[in-house]
């Protein structure tokens, strides 16, 4: 059978999908295996004796609800603040020409370029000096500050694509600046706002270096930190439990991402081409 030329494009796509999906499937499958089955040779993708023990262990483990709450609270709070701040910043960059605006726009992207690890020590000292180590404010502000640059960049591109005439007409009708943002820019930029919200949420949910460095108590830990805690070279690693924890950690954000996937894609593309 002759393979059409356009079908050739499918080959790398299929490889990419398998490359991405297979480890995920393997992880889900292994979370239902027994401890012994994990090390069985040859390995099998389908658990020989599937069991839900690992999920029971995770769900009943001490502190799991705290980690879920912390991850959820930090992700929602920091995402909301980051998106709110980004809307105003992006509007300013999109609509106002002021001195050094281009330089400022580039400057705002710098935190995005600097490796997160190099921010840890200065941030740690800063939070220590104000006595906020091991607290929600330290994490919320740190997460928010790292989310704002990307959000601002995407939203600025999108806002620039909204015809200024709409705002001019509203101004003539007496709309204030806030009203123009509230009733024109935000409704017209919903795809972009959803995009940056999902990206912020995902980033905050998965964040690890800051929570590792800025917290020292169990009550402040998030799901990624606890996942790190499950790795143990000194004892027998219960891989089904580690993988069950991983599945439960990524499931909410994965579901969220799948629901909003189309809007996220369109939001990113719109911001890029308008």
């Amino acid at each position: 059978m002759k393979l059409g030329r356009d079908r050739l494009y499918w080959i790398p796509l299929v490889i990419l999908v398998v490359w991405t999906i297979f480890p995920l499937l393997w992880g889900v499958s292994s979370s239902f295996k027994t401890y012994a089955d994990i090390y069985r040779v040859p390995p099998s993708i389908i658990p020989p004796d599937p069991e839900i023990r690992a999920y029971q262990v995770v769900l009943t483990s001490r502190g799991f609800s705290t980690y879920v709450f912390n991850s959820t609270f930090l992700a929602l709070t920091s995402s909301f603040i980051a998106v709110a701040c980004s809307i105003f910043a992006a509007y300013g960059f999109a609509r106002f020409k002021f001195r050094l605006s281009t330089a400022l726009f580039l400057l705002i992207l710098i935190p995005r370029i600097i490796p997160r690890a190099s921010l840890i020590i200065p941030l740690f000292q800063m939070w220590a000096s104000v006595g906020l180590l091991d607290s929600y404010p330290a994490l919320i502000v740190s997460y928010t500050a790292t989310a704002i640059p990307f959000n601002t960049m995407v939203l600025t591109g999108f806002f620039r694509g909204v015809p200024p005439a709409l705002e001019d007409a509203a101004s003539i009708d007496g709309a204030t600046l806030w009203q123009r943002i509230r009733y024109i820019m935000i409704p017209m930029s919903i795809p972009a706002i959803i995009t940056v919200s999902v990206m912020s949420l995902r980033e905050a949910w998965n964040e690890f270096p800051f929570v590792l460095a800025l917290t020292t108590s169990t009550r402040m830990r998030t799901l990624p930190y606890q996942l790190f805690m499950l790795r143990d070279a000194m004892g027998i690693e219960d891989w089904p439990v580690v993988l069950a924890f991983t599945v439960l950690t990524i499931a909410p954000i994965l579901g969220f991402y799948i629901i909003f996937q189309k809007r996220v894609t369109s939001g990113l593309v719109s911001g890029a081409i308008k």
Binding site: I38, Y39, R40, V41, T216, M234, G235, I236, E237
Partner: protein
């Protein structure tokens, strides 16, 4: 009446604050949840109402870094549990308290109790003759092996590394099939080189005063040659160089390996899947032929170190002595890692939980610490890379060449 009421109100207002002020808080970072005493300090609080212990778990892989960072801003805990190898760095940075005088006072005050403690409890926390903490638990690596497979091949328990290597060859040739291999060990990428250094020390490997291993010695070259042989003669799984600890433990427990160098706490799991004394057995890692006098049983531990800024060293010492109390540390020893106390390790309860321990008992009491080093992480990276190169198939360099190359890198750290 009004005056009396006023006095009562003032007392009622001030009393709790006064009482709270009289209570000392000692904060402890444990390296693993399993090290926390079973009673979560309940007995301690009952016996010491003036001291409140607050504790949390900071993984050992992070604890020394987190501690030093928090120490720099004055918010580090009073006690931190670390990997013993980081002692030098923490002392030199001035983060640890010299508790030598408290330990000497303890020895004087209760010599009977002190005699119950193995030397390693303080050897591992001593730097330049000063003591900075207590090593309550440690886990030297011994060797688990398949007794039934050796018997099938007509072999006895090997007494030297040379005999062990010969046994591996015979097992691989005559008994093992398919995915079964004679020797299992972790690769170097995932962990510090604990397993490698345990073997190195049993082979008679020595260290410089700085804690740098002398790998271009006879013992070091023998070790590299041993790894080259395992890899190049197919005596270990071809993927073993990439294995993490779980993989090689899984290989032995999954009946795919005949020998595995491991610690006592893992044997507890092994006996759940393999029948002890009939299917598998333990032994002390053997010496190298001709180097019997240099043989040592290594010790890796997780000592509790004391913060140099601690406000109440006496209270901290009470907490440390509580953690080392036989009645307290026995619960951790039975469920997790051995304790450095003779009364715990030779108790009926411990023998029952770990029936193989009598074989290891004498060696356990003679543990020698894996030396600390000021640049411990870099030392680990170099040693792991050396092991990786030693396991190349086919071998690219002679053991002497590898030893010379990595000795140079190690010496550059000093």
């Amino acid at each position: 009446m009004k005056k009396l009421l006023l006095v009562f109100m003032v007392v009622a207002f001030l009393l709790p604050a006064t009482l709270a002020g009289a209570q000392t808080t000692v904060t402890v970072w444990f390296g693993r949840q399993e090290f926390i005493p079973a009673d979560a300090f309940e007995t301690f609080h009952a016996e010491n109402p003036d001291i409140r212990v607050e504790f949390d778990v900071i993984p050992l892989e992070e604890s020394h870094v987190d501690f030093m960072r928090n120490h720099a801003v004055g918010v580090a805990p009073d006690v931190v549990q670390i990997f013993g190898e980081f002692l030098a760095t923490m002392v030199v940075r001035g983060t640890l308290l010299d508790i030598t005088e408290y330990i000497e006072a303890w020895a004087e005050e209760d010599p009977e109790d002190f005699a119950d403690i193995y030397d390693i409890a303080f050897d591992m926390t001593t730097y330049e003759d000063r003591i900075y903490g207590i090593n309550v638990h440690s886990g030297p690596f011994f060797m688990g092996y398949r007794k039934d497979w050796l018997a099938e091949a007509g072999l006895e328990e090997p007494q030297t590394w040379e005999e062990l290597l010969d046994a591996c060859r015979i097992l691989q040739e005559e008994v093992l099939t398919g995915d079964e291999y004679a020797y299992a060990q972790p690769g170097g990428a995932h962990h510090p080189p604990f397993w490698m250094m345990a073997t190195f020390m049993s082979m008679g490997g020595q260290f410089r005063d700085t804690g740098t291993p002398i790998v271009d010695s006879e013992a070091g070259i023998f070790l590299i040659d041993f790894y080259q042989t395992l890899a190049n003669e197919g005596l270990q799984d071809p993927e073993a160089h990439a294995w993490a600890s779980g993989d090689f433990r899984g290989a032995f427990m999954g009946e795919r390996a005949a020998f595995y160098p491991e610690a006592i706490n893992i044997y507890a799991y092994t006996q759940e899947v393999l029948e002890y004394a009939t299917e598998w057995e333990v032994m002390v890692q053997p010496p190298r032929e001709g180097a019997e006098d240099d043989f040592r049983v290594n010790s890796f531990g997780w000592p509790y170190m004391v913060n140099s800024d601690t406000e109440d060293p006496e209270a901290v010492m009470k907490v440390l002595r509580y953690l080392f109390d036989p009645e307290i540390c026995v619960s951790v020893a039975l469920a997790y890692q051995p304790a450095n106390r003779a009364s715990v390790m030779t108790s009926d309860a411990y023998y029952e939980a770990h029936p193989y321990f009598p074989i290891l008992e004498a060696s356990f009491a003679e543990q020698v610490t894996y030396p600390t080093h000021l640049r411990s992480v870099e030392r680990a990276d170099i040693l792991n890379e050396m092991k990786f190169v030693a396991q190349q198939v086919p071998a690219q360099y002679t053991p002497e060449e590898i030893a010379a190359r990595y000795q140079e890198l190690l010496d550059a750290l000093d």
